[in-house]
């Protein structure tokens, strides 16, 4: 089950922090549980998939888009303070929220909640959920840190091998040319000596020819 706790303030009590927990199984759009607490009292409610669809229809909004708005408003830490506004009546247990866009506010949704008889248990559950999230994040953090160190080691390793390959390539070229030059010069020396021999052999013949 996915859970998200946000800090929110109500328009009617802007200095008092409340906590809103949304919990859902598969997707937010398939329905969710709401828990609201001020640290002393607690209220809960359920929003079904059909209620979400109905709300989207009433607003002439595509369901997916509406669910995205719900996520931003209720399950993203309360959203930017000046975008989403919340209100709650402790008398009627009616929770509502709206979105403000370019100074125009429009109602985004509302639910009826029920007051919990034993709020301490709900509050404890909420704190436990927070601690579980902290533990999960820390485990993920440690895993990512190890991955990070491994990737850095791998990068250093392959960078080292790349630099060695570049040096080896340069050294290979130099070395092969050196060897080639030595062998080639042997052939040139042989050609020079054969030319010389040929000249020596052909010289007397030219002299004989001249004499004749």
């Amino acid at each position: 089950m996915e859970r998200k706790v946000s800090r929110i303030c109500f328009a009617s009590e802007p200095d008092i922090i409340h906590f809103l927990q949304i919990a859902w199984e598969r997707t937010l759009g398939s329905g969710f549980l709401i828990t609201l607490t001020d640290g002393q009292s607690a209220w809960t409610g359920t929003v079904s998939e059909s209620e979400i669809s109905q709300e989207a229809d009433d607003m002439a909004m595509e369901k997916e888009k509406y669910v995205d708005e719900l996520r931003k408003a209720l399950a993203s830490g309360g959203g930017p303070a000046d975008v989403y506004k919340f209100d709650f009546s402790k008398e009627s247990c009616h929770f509502s929220f709206e979105k403000t866009l370019k100074d125009v506010s429009f109602r985004l949704g509302s639910f009826n909640l029920e007051k919990i008889e034993s709020p301490a248990e709900v509050i404890k559950k909420l704190i436990c959920d927070c601690l579980d999230t902290i533990a999960e994040n820390q485990a993920k953090n440690e895993h990512l840190q190890k991955e990070n160190e491994r990737l850095l080691r791998d990068w250093n390793d392959v960078q080292g091998r790349f630099e060695k390959c570049v040096s080896a390539k340069e050294a290979l070229e130099t070395d092969l040319y050196k060897r080639f030059i030595l062998v080639l010069n042997e052939k040139k020396a042989k050609i020079r000596s054969l030319h010389k021999l040929l000249n020596e052999v052909q010289e007397p013949e030219r002299n004989i020819g001249h004499e004749r």
Partner: protein, 39 residues
């Protein structure tokens, strides 16, 4: 013996490469690998 030495000196250079027979990849690699570290 001297005559053998003379024969090889006529046929091969001091690195073992033939003066007369065309070389190929394997032979040239063999000649290069037998050469001491060229200065």
């Amino acid at each position: 013996c001297p005559s053998t030495r003379q024969h090889f000196a006529r046929e091969y250079d001091c690195y073992g490469d033939s003066y007369f027979t065309d070389t190929d990849l394997n032979q040239l690699k063999e000649v290069f690998s037998a050469m001491k570290n060229p200065g």
